[in-house]
Symmetry: C2
Amino acid sequence: MKNFHGLILAGGRGTRFWPLSRRASAKQVLRLFGERSLIQQTVDRLKPVLPPERIWILTNDHLRAEIVKQLPEVPARQILAEPAQRNTAPAIGLAARILHGIDPESIMGVFPADHVIGNPRSYIRQLKPAIAAAQAGKIVVLGIQPRWAETGYGYIEFPKGVQPGAPKLLPVRRFREKPDAKTAQKFLDAGNFYWNAGMFFWKTGVLLDALREFQPKTASLLASLPPFGQRGFAARLEETFPRCENISIDFAVLEKAKNVVGLPTGDFGWNDVGSWNAVYELHGRDKQGNAVRNSALIEDSSGNFVDAKKLVALLGVHDLVIVDTPDALLVADRKRAQQVGDLVKLLEKGGHHHLL
Amino acid sequence: MKNFHGLILAGGRGTRFWPLSRRASAKQVLRLFGERSLIQQTVDRLKPVLPPERIWILTNDHLRAEIVKQLPEVPARQILAEPAQRNTAPAIGLAARILHGIDPESIMGVFPADHVIGNPRSYIRQLKPAIAAAQAGKIVVLGIQPRWAETGYGYIEFPKGVQPGAPKLLPVRRFREKPDAKTAQKFLDAGNFYWNAGMFFWKTGVLLDALREFQPKTASLLASLPPFGQRGFAARLEETFPRCENISIDFAVLEKAKNVVGLPTGDFGWNDVGSWNAVYELHGRDKQGNAVRNSALIEDSSGNFVDAKKLVALLGVHDLVIVDTPDALLVADRKRAQQVGDLVKLLEKGGHHHLL
């Protein structure tokens, strides 16, 4: 499908991967698994439906140079730095505006840059009905069958009796924000609540219509941009973009539009790799449950995650996350890996800007 | 007393301080407290009774250059590398042989290079009766009043009713090897068992007589050396020393000689700094009991010891020893700090010689 384009959203900081993640080396450009970074793996897995010349990437000034370097197959002009952080609605609107200018019939898929998918073939196969529905004018959201009562994700409520992995688009009853633990358990038990993984499909014209309807200010600011590639585009974007409303596409469009449908997918090993603990869970481990990304000497220690570029010796320690870099070392209880982002906030407050 | 000389034994490896301690930077040359290394502190505290020109140091080839650098005030020719590790008896015998050649009336004090003494003034004051007794022909051993039921030291058994810190030499009933926990507790409760801290005093002639009596082979090998400073001394030592018996001065002489007396000292803050845990105990700590030798960001963590040259962030971790160096990192349960030396043995077996 020649008019199908991919937008990879790569503007996040991923502070929970500190001290490895920094402004100029955020989560999406880290090699957390194997030799390819998360954004490289994202581009790799999309190749069967999206050749790199139809990949577009939105990131920020800190990261753009690294992403251009990591993805030589993606045209550098299609890797854009947002002039300001304005959440997903303006970013997606901007990409839709650019693609619609190039081809008014263009279809667009939105993909986070920093997730892992264990079974890319199954994933690509399951995408196809979503792309077809987008072609037919729908706003399509992918639902991931939940595997536990997660409180960190939003949920998509489908009608009861949903069949995971059936290639069948369903109406979305409601979008549900991140639930508390009790509600999350109810969602899991009910069976018709799916994780919202931030993957969307639509015709660019359809999305722009919806933006005009629900976010008229942002829509008109984006409409005022000269065509992409023309002189003055960058300068005008620099001036316009920061004035767009700071809002997610979920709030701005998905929860309001009428033509929204969802695709409840079957398991393809999706993981949003939310913390060092997720890297630990996905990593190979020894018999004592230690996951080590370098050489280590391990005595009476279990359940540890170690990432370092030198020998690490463990003696009688358990369930730690140990991440070493040239200028900072993290030693944390693995159960508290989610809170590493809070450490980064403290570093920011403490004036340790060179470590961010 | 112009004929009083000090021998500092500085040949140990101190592997329990890995990864900071290496062959070329063993415990005694590390700056574990403040700006001065342990051997520098040893020389500093002896100055009231021993000017540096009467200090002699026995070490090994790996360490000699560093010690010469750290102690510019000690004549470099008095800092000798043992040609082989032969425990304390041959080392002490060698020094006695050299000093006796220089001055047959010389008295010698033996001092470990790697201990800490909290109150050096009280220490020096308490040394004086020991030096006087040595002058009078005795073999004198210093006893440290025990503060807990330590199983890692040898003990000196004095007659019952001993007064700590009284300037009075006492006969030694028996030397006791490292006891088990139960025996150590009995020693502590009895009150007449003192720690043997490896500090000895004698006339060099008296010690050489004792060696001739109890270790005739070693004594005659040492007697065959040309006078210190004469051509051929080093070459002959190279050939002779490895043939000396590998035995401690305790076994070789102290437990056998008749003219042995002990000085039960009062508390002068002696600590042999046996492991990272001892450094932790002696170090300043925050309210949560963390001892940090650099900048750290500490969240919900307690009882940790951290030594690193970069920022270390702790999150929800307790009672750890964390020591970072450019090529190796140790993370250990603080209660198991004694076993760090075993890790070094494993590294040796594993062929990690560049980390030793």
